[in-house]
């Protein structure tokens, strides 16, 4: 967790922090781009393919503040959180390709990945299910008297799930140490926000649970960073959970198969002017911290890393079919009882 450790002392935004944030955002952008526009179309990645294009600032700007003992439950649009926790691009690629070397060893696909060692819990497809689980992770922290917190990520659609409401309510009642990070990208698959909820902002749900909440520009990584820092001060201080609603936009379909023709062109046009990577780069240029040439170098370094990672992942074997029945239970039932053959 080199990047993580390097960012830990940061209380002010300086050049080092900005470069770290930029690196992870560019890595997330380019890695997802490679997966969606190349590997998926080449048939090397099968199944669903979800990206967080245009949303990189949220996972990166928040997870960079996570401490080694914290736990994270990233959503399918938060690859940046995995990268910051030290999950390598090659592991992510092998996961997408269903290889034995992927984080779920071919048992699950795409962004359904996590790693106990690096304190990342993988999402499941029933959106919002991670919210109560985050409560349990936090409960264990409180149980042991730790000052760790949980970073619980979800989208706007998840806030319509009963699990979201049960989870927030219980965490608030129990004063559990959780930072809730909502990436409100305005669409849940094809359903726009005004058909998802009868309120303008997700934060309006928070007072019903007695939860402090704030809205932040989800495309401004520094704004996300500062909001997360505020939230952490509250949560690590033993004051219970805190909700940050990050306003953003999904600059892709729901999944690679989805051309998102239901999104008005003007809306996409408007949000393309708020690209989080370009926004951070402008901030750095304005302060004379970096030049366009530096950004080209960063991107080239990232692309080289991805080339190597793709090569590694493609060389990984697919899981052996003989392992099909492994790991259902700690100890396999005697007599091969997972199937019928005598």
């Amino acid at each position: 967790m080199g990047a993580l450790a390097a960012a830990l002392p940061a209380t002010e935004i300086d050049l080092d922090l900005a470069r770290t944030l930029l690196y992870h955002m560019v890595m997330m952008r380019e890695l997802e781009d490679r997966i969606e526009t190349k590997l998926y179309r080449q048939g090397k990645v099968l199944g669903g393919c979800y990206t967080g294009r245009g949303q990189e600032a949220i996972s990166v700007g928040s997870a960079i503040l996570s401490q080694p003992g914290d736990w994270l439950t990233p959503s399918h649009r938060d690859m940046g959180a995995l990268l910051i926790r030290g999950i390598a691009p090659k592991e992510i690629l092998a996961q997408y390709m269903g290889r034995a070397g992927g984080l779920t060893r071919g048992r699950d696909g795409n962004m359904h990945m996590g790693c106990a060692k690096r304190h990342c819990v993988p999402i499941i497809s029933s959106i919002g299910a991670s919210v109560p689980v985050a409560g349990g992770l936090a409960l264990a922290m409180k149980y042991r008297g730790e000052s760790n917190v949980v970073f619980n990520y979800f989208g706007d659609g998840a806030t319509s799930r009963g699990d979201w409401h049960e989870g927030l309510n219980m965490a608030a009642v129990m004063d559990l140490p959780i930072v809730y990070l909502c990436n409100n990208n305005q669409y849940a698959y094809s359903t726009p926000l005004d058909r998802q909820m009868n309120i303008d902002d997700v934060v309006e749900r928070a007072p019903g649970y007695g939860l402090p909440a704030e809205i932040v520009s989800g495309n401004d990584v520094l704004a996300v960073f500062k909001a997360t820092r505020r939230a952490l001060e509250h949560v690590r201080g033993g004051n219970g959970p805190y909700l940050i609603e990050c306003k953003t936009f999904r600059m892709s379909g729901h999944s690679a198969h989805d051309r998102a023709e239901y999104v008005p062109g003007m809306l996409r046009e408007e949000w393309s002017r708020k690209d989080p990577v370009l926004m951070l780069q402008k901030y750095m240029v304005d302060r004379e911290w970096a030049t366009e040439q530096d950004f080209k170098q960063i991107r080239k370094g990232v692309l080289d890393e991805i080339d190597n990672a793709v090569e590694w992942a493609l060389a990984q074997p697919f899981p052996d079919p003989s392992t099909l029945e492994d790991d259902v239970y700690e100890t396999a039932p005697s007599g091969g009882r997972l199937r019928s053959a005598p």
Binding site: W71, L103, T104, R105, R107, D108, H112, M113, G114, C115, A116, V121, P122, I124, S125, S126, A129, V131, P132, V133, A134, G135, G136, L137, A138, L139, A140, M141, K142, Y143, R144, G162, D163, E166, G167, N169, M170, V173, M174, D327, V328, Y329, E330, P333, S334, G335, R337, L338, S340, P342
Partner: protein, 324 residues
């Protein structure tokens, strides 16, 4: 030496495990100060404190989800569902989240979900159901239902020490209707092992939970008629002890599958499949299923009596099968 009831045995099992392992804790609705709807956790708050005896809002999905999260983060939760019927509210968390963690990302979930199940208590449609089958059908879960006080304690202690999620179904009618002398000190009963409750030679009956007692009562009466029925108590429904089922069939050559759960999609069909595939040549008569009819569990006493399998019904079916 005093006798211990089924419900006291469960309380003792949890209590001993909490004394043994500081990572074991209980969580559920109304379980702390109130001691739980069936008083299983009575007294635990005073002994173990509110950190380890956790009252929750009325949120089954959040209870199971929080249990899963706590298990991921190193604890060993013992969750109480107030009634097994309400597990439906946490179904996604149980079957999609907890059950699949080990297979997906190698994360063990050492969690017990205790749930009072079963009828004969005038509970009606939402307090009497037998909900085992959706969980038996979910790979990654273990499903247990004890029939005796000894097993209730031993199986529960084994479940708490198990590193996979266990659905622990307690029969409400048995809570205070069965009791026995229990050995002093620590013991466990292994998961996945059935037990022959009564040896017999003429035919076999396979049951679990309260129905083990129905089968034993029937067997006692049948013995007076010269019919010698073997009674097998499954104890664990998933993973099933197939060998024990096949062994009793190979021994007596005739078999009845008895459960309080409704007929269609009940465990009896699965057991018949196993016997049909692996012991068909041993059968000297048709396999017989005795189960509740495919209706919701009714409230009124006359209807509930008509719904539940009875000793008389078992005796009649056993006579028919014996004559076959």
């Amino acid at each position: 030496m005093t006798e211990t009831t089924y419900v006291q045995a469960i309380r003792a099992g949890i209590w001993e495990e909490m004394e043994r392992d500081p990572n074991v804790f209980v969580m559920g609705e109304d379980i702390a100060e109130y001691g739980g709807a069936f008083k299983v956790t009575a007294g635990m708050l005073e002994r173990f404190g509110e950190k380890r005896v956790v009252d929750t809002p009325l949120s089954e999905s959040a209870i199971v989800g929080a249990g899963t999260g706590a298990a991921i983060n190193g604890l060993r939760p013992v969750l109480e569902m107030q009634f097994a019927d309400f597990m439906a509210c946490g179904f996604d968390q149980i079957t999609n989240f907890a059950a699949k963690c080990r297979y997906r990302w190698g994360q063990q979930i050492p969690m017990v979900i205790r749930a009072p199940a079963g009828g004969n208590i005038h509970g009606g449609p939402f307090h009497s159901q037998n909900v085992e089958m959706p969980y038996v059908h979910t790979p990654g879960l273990k499903v247990v239902q004890p029939a005796t006080a000894y097993d209730a304690k031993g199986l529960l202690k084994a479940s708490i020490r198990d590193n996979d999620p266990v659905i622990f179904l307690e029969h409400k009618y048995l809570y205070r209707s069965v009791k026995e002398r229990l050995p002093a000190g620590d013991y466990t009963v292994p998961l996945g092992k059935a037990k022959v409750r009564r040896e017999g030679n003429d035919l076999s009956i396979v049951a679990y939970g309260w129905m083990v007692h129905t089968a034993l009562d029937a067997a006692a009466q049948l013995a007076a008629e010269g019919i010698d029925m073997e009674v097998l108590d499954l104890r664990t429904l998933a993973p099933l002890d197939r060998e024990a089922v096949l062994a009793t069939v190979r021994k007596t050559n005739k078999v009845i599958f008895l459960h309080e759960d409704t007929l269609t999609g009940g465990l009896g069909g699965e057991l018949a499949g196993i016997v049909g595939e692996h012991a068909f040549e041993y059968l000297d008569g048709p396999m017989v299923r005795i189960a509740a009819p495919d209706t919701p569990v009714p409230f009124s006493e006359t209807l509930e009596k008509a719904f539940l399998p009875t000793v008389d019904e078992v005796i009649e079916q056993a006579r028919n099968l014996h004559r076959y």
